[in-house]
Symmetry: C2
Subunit: 336 residues, 2 copies
DNA sequence: CTGTTAGCGCCTTCAA
DNA sequence: TTGAAGGCGCTAACAG
């Protein structure tokens, strides 16, 4: 066992002990360059004995890199916990896995877009070699502006031909349509969409949903603005039900939103799915644990995370990339 | 608007343009040292014009720091998504907030404890100025060993006088007792504990729970081993109910566990709380959205996160710290 | 008030 | 196969 706090703090200390030059130590420890195998083994043994490891920060400075990737959640207007939504934390977990596998650290940042330049500022501080943005929020303009001269970025979110950056995400429009068809198939006629159109992903879900409805149904469909937090979702739903609305089919922008709506419905004695069908979006782990289990539109979070990392590294290496859209999948459980 | 990719890559470039020395630029931009206000403003203007920002990595190397704090989840045996549990992700979100406020970046690491030295290796690589460990898992020995000669670490988890490191956490034993009292108060007599004792937090919850039961009740109380994942929890519960067990009171190691047990109970036609009372632990956001809303033992996650950061920074500054235990709180909803 | 200089810990070309 | 030297971008004495 070796001490973490040791007198050997740099390769020059080690060089002194081993009686060789710093460059020899460097070569021995990095494995780069040519070196006598005996010398290499000897130096590595000494390093291990003293518990010495190369200083990653210095190494990176010299190599002109940082070795870490920034993962940013630009949920500006939603000052509340972005990470509290299981969708985001699940994504984060998979990103951590994928980045670790590729030898990168994950720098988590929750900078709130106060100024116009928050993204540019982050990039210019040089803290990371690349950026993964989770969700565009309402920052489309800032993102596009940055993308015009910064390549090392990929974005989880909605695809648009007008974006000059690479996105990875679900086909939200198709997902919305899937939900509409399912509700219609169940015979629902008085529908409501719970969500907001601030962020493009949600706007697309809404558009896909509405566009798949027959005109007669669409005319009677309510759009209920709902925030991303469970508290906000529940409050919106409460107010909606309290006003006397009794839809027979609901499509919510997220699973957390759907579960919140169900909780509110329960307060009003509305039985799901008997009185009202509910469909969520995401298929987070808790969707199958809800009571009743939630019918939802599934997003492939793990696949998305891997794709984000893959494409980002390709861009960092100078390659070109194209946006990717995953086909969403209807998961039928009990609520619709 | 200024380009992110600019020809001005270092303070020496900027010094050249401004016609001053690098140290003057450094002083102007950092605000340290004394400098003519006019010169300072002029240099800052030029920097802004060229979109220049100090390179944080180089700055940190020079200052002998990294500017980031590592947040590690040592859930070794639970190879699955540690972050998928909302408790952890909520904690992570609050940590990100607290660290950002203090000017630190958050480096997320999910290194799985494969070797004995995983923690030492991480520390010696010098990637962070300090470490926040979330949960001890079964790594108590490794943590203690590291703590013997590494100060810059705090741990979220169970307190024990034998630990030579500072912990922040709930009084899990007291929390277990709270759950027991509540179930007894409701008249429950055939109890079960769903959880495992691999990690000390959970072991303490179990011990507190069992110790608060009268002997007669305790003898009939079942301990059902349950993994941390919802799938695992649900499978355990299913097997348990399938074997014909019909307890009238359940205490689960976590809210996710409790909700999973409720989902399984539902499959067997067991009504909560009528046939069986259920109490969880954590009070994650989804506890109040479950159907019926979950009675649980609340942990102050935000307070815990702030305390962890506070204590870590104090230790990094050379100060001494003592372990902190938060008093858990019984939140009565509908399941018990 | 400002410039010069010497590193932080490491990698890499160039020589030997 | 190994060593010497320069420099990644920055800060902080020490001079002037």
């Amino acid at each position: 066992m070796s001490a973490v706090t040791s007198s050997v703090r740099s390769i020059s200390d080690l060089a002194l002990i081993a009686g060789v030059s710093v460059s020899t130590v460097s070569r021995a420890l990095t494995g780069k360059g040519t070196l006598n195998q005996t010398t290499r083994d000897r130096i590595r043994a000494i390093a291990a004995e003293h518990g010495f490891r190369l200083n990653v920060a210095a190494q990176n400075l010299r190599l002109g890199r940082t070795g870490s990737i920034g993962v940013l959640f630009p949920l500006g207007h939603e000052k509340a916990q972005a990470l509290s939504d299981p969708f985001f934390s699940t994504m984060l977990g998979y990103l951590a896995d994928a980045l670790t596998e590729r030898g990168y650290d994950l720098l988590l940042s929750r900078i709130t877009p106060e100024t116009e330049m928050w993204l540019d500022d982050f990039v210019r501080s040089g803290r990371t070699d690349g950026i993964i943005l989770i969700g565009q929020s309402n920052q489309g303009a800032a993102i596009n502006r940055l993308a015009a001269h910064y390549r090392q970025m990929v974005v989880w979110g909605a695809y648009s031909p007008e974006n000059c950056y690479t996105t990875v995400g679900s086909d939200n429009f198709a997902g919305g349509a899937l939900a509409a068809h399912r509700l219609l198939h169940r015979g629902a006629k008085r529908l409501a969409w719970f969500g907001h159109a601030n962020a493009p992903e949600f706007a697309a879900r809404q558009a896909g949903f509405l566009s798949a409805l027959p005109d007669a149904v669409r005319r009677d469909t309510t759009v209920v603005p709902m925030h991303i937090t469970p508290e906000g979702s529940r409050a919106s739903a409460r107010a909606y039900f309290a006003a006397g609305h009794r839809p027979d089919g609901i499509f919510a922008a997220s699973d957390v939103g759907a579960i919140s709506v169900m909780a509110a419905a329960h307060e009003f004695g509305i039985a799901v799915p008997h009185d009202m069908a509910v469909i969520g979006f995401d298929d987070i782990m808790l969707a199958r644990l809800s009571n009743p289990p939630l019918t939802t539109i599934r997003q492939d979070i793990e696949g998305g995370a891997r794709m984000l990392v893959e494409l980002l590294l390709r861009r960092m290496a100078g390659g070109e990339t194209q946006s990717v859209q995953f086909a969403p999948q209807l998961i039928i459980r009990e609520t619709a």
